[in-house]
């Protein structure tokens, strides 16, 4: 890995250099009742709108690479003949400016699922290969538990990763593209002092986590606690609203619907992100519902993230971003659910 250091003031130069493409970054969306700012990812046109010191955004950035709604194909009917048109929806490149390590790790996990098998998803792949990522080191919020999930640092899947160190930025350079962009700015080589400073900064960050999930032996424990009554307790609270999946950077389940134009000239297959907490997620043709109770649906969301995926990929599908817990109106959070499953151990 190549490292560079640059003055904080150069950040705006970097933004300017990258703004030949569409930049997506954290912006302020408003303030909550207590006056606390609410952040989300959006297209940023002005450097002043980029809020790099956001704690956590409400939603992940997935709408840009795994849209909530997406046209899979369009059919055109004409005189008894028909044509099919497929558009992967990667008409432009995106620069993601300010993704935290959790979200870049989330992309790496999605890569494994959506591109790493025999049927890679071209809709995702086209967008994924058309992005430039500037990672940004964070300060943990009270609901972040990425350190428990091993996603508090990231080793690949970005172009540039920046860590604030006093008046300067420490830059990890992953790609040739990033290297050439930095060539057009004022940077310097890091000294041994800088390396130490960087390591102190990251270990300081690690000490700031207040939220934790014990993942040791978790796949086995989940198997043992399949019948546990805690699932009922969480199921009673659950609104079956799908918010947790919609804000999650790694939830990728979807449904497909067909639509025909009123004049019968066109038809479309439309994909819509779905959630395993929704009442009809496991309903099959003929009307049988394999998971009619909210407790079972909620349980399976946890089983997919923390058990099934771990057994398949040796890592969890949860990156500990805390978004689902923040957004859940019923206050269902990953740390509390997992702790309740493990209760009685200590």
């Amino acid at each position: 890995m190549i490292f560079k250091v640059f003055q904080a003031g150069e950040m705006e130069t970097l933004f300017g250099l990258l703004s030949v493409n569409r930049i997506v970054g954290p912006v302020e969306k408003g303030r909550d009742v207590d006056g606390k700012p609410l952040y989300d990812f959006d297209v940023v046109y002005d450097f002043k709108d980029l809020k790099l010191d956001y704690g956590q955004t409400i939603h992940s950035a997935k709408n840009y690479f795994l849209p909530y709604r997406e046209n899979l194909c369009t059919f055109t009917f004409d005189n008894g003949d028909w044509q099919k048109e497929v558009d992967f929806g990667a008409d432009r490149a995106h620069v993601f400016f300010g993704l935290h390590s959790c979200d870049i790790n989330a992309l790496n996990k999605l890569d494994k699922v959506l591109m790493g098998n025999i049927y890679p998803n071209p809709f995702y792949g086209a967008k994924r290969s058309n992005m430039f990522i500037v990672g940004y080191s964070c300060t943990p919020t009270p609901s972040c538990f990425c350190h428990s999930m091993g996603t508090d640092s990231v080793l690949h899947g970005f172009d540039l990763f920046l860590t604030r160190m006093g008046d300067e930025y420490f830059a990890e350079v992953q790609s040739a593209r990033a290297y050439h962009i930095l060539e057009r700015m004022e940077t310097r080589e890091p000294t041994h002092e800088d390396h130490l400073h960087f390591r102190k900064t990251t270990s300081k960050k690690r000490s700031l986590f207040t939220c934790e999930v014990d993942t040791s032996d978790l796949t086995k424990i989940l198997d043992m606690e399949f019948e546990s009554e805690v699932w009922e307790k969480w199921g009673d609270k659950c609104l079956s609203c799908g918010t947790c999946a919609n804000v999650c950077p790694t939830c990728y389940c979807y449904g497909v619907e067909e639509e025909v134009n009123m004049d019968f000239s066109h038809a479309r297959k439309v994909k819509q992100l779905y959630s395993c907490n929704l009442v009809d997620f496991a309903e099959v043709a003929g009307g049988h519902n394999f998971r009619p109770e909210s407790s079972t649906r909620l349980k399976y969301r946890y089983y997919h993230k923390h058990r099934g995926f771990v057994e398949a990929y040796e890592e969890s599908l949860c990156v500990g971003c805390g978004r689902c817990g923040n957004a859940c109106l019923a206050d269902i959070t990953v740390p509390e659910v997992i702790a309740s499953v493990r209760e009685g151990e200590k």
Partner: protein, 266 residues
Amino acid sequence: MKTERTFLGVPIVKPKVGFFDLSSCEGCQLQMLNNEASLLDFLSLVEIVNFREGMKEKSDDYDIAFVEGSVTRADEEERLKIIRRNAGVVVALGSCACFGGVNQLKNRFNDLEWVKRQVYGDFPIETQEAKPISAFVKVDLEIYGCPIKKEEVEKIVTKLVLGQEITHPNYPVCMECKANENVCLFDLGEPCLGPVTRAGCDSWCPSNRMGCWGCRGPAPAANLKQLEKIAEQKNISKERLLDRLECFGGFGEAAREMRTKVEGGR
């Protein structure tokens, strides 16, 4: 002359449809006329033989009847039964027809005579409890919303004409609201019925920074008990919550129970 249309080689019949209104604001029908851009396409899909909001001609020969409004008078009951006899498919159009709608708010008062005097003064009219049309006739399809969402009706009617299965979203408004990346109204201190209300409106109200009033009625897995707890936790009074739950009639029994609990607790 009707030119026969086909879809994927299969001839498609253009059904005759009628729009009818009982007690309502006729806003749902107006919605249908609202978007001129797609009106002609809609007219190519069906043959409209009855539509007071849009034409003078009338006919009793129709396959599909869209009925807007709730039943609040005896003569409406009769009209509705005739419509049912004439039509192959009866569609309840909008929340008044589906749940009683805003009209059913008057049912909360024990003394309907008093209501009549308050509203109509010296010009009393005949009026009874407001009820959804399903209280009187068999309803084949319900289209929710106050008002209905034109795009949704167009999609449904297209499926009806093509003989495809018609399904409503079974998830609540939150699902659409989050997909629209809105800030949650609860974070802004406002109540919202999004967590318990059936989606389909593309989170119309929250996308305009207004909490949902539940006009589409309950989602199949609506967890009202939890919504009550959430409101309590966020210092939103039961009365404010009830205001919304009672507004369109969709939450019927559940809202009545909550009302009884609130009044009983006073």
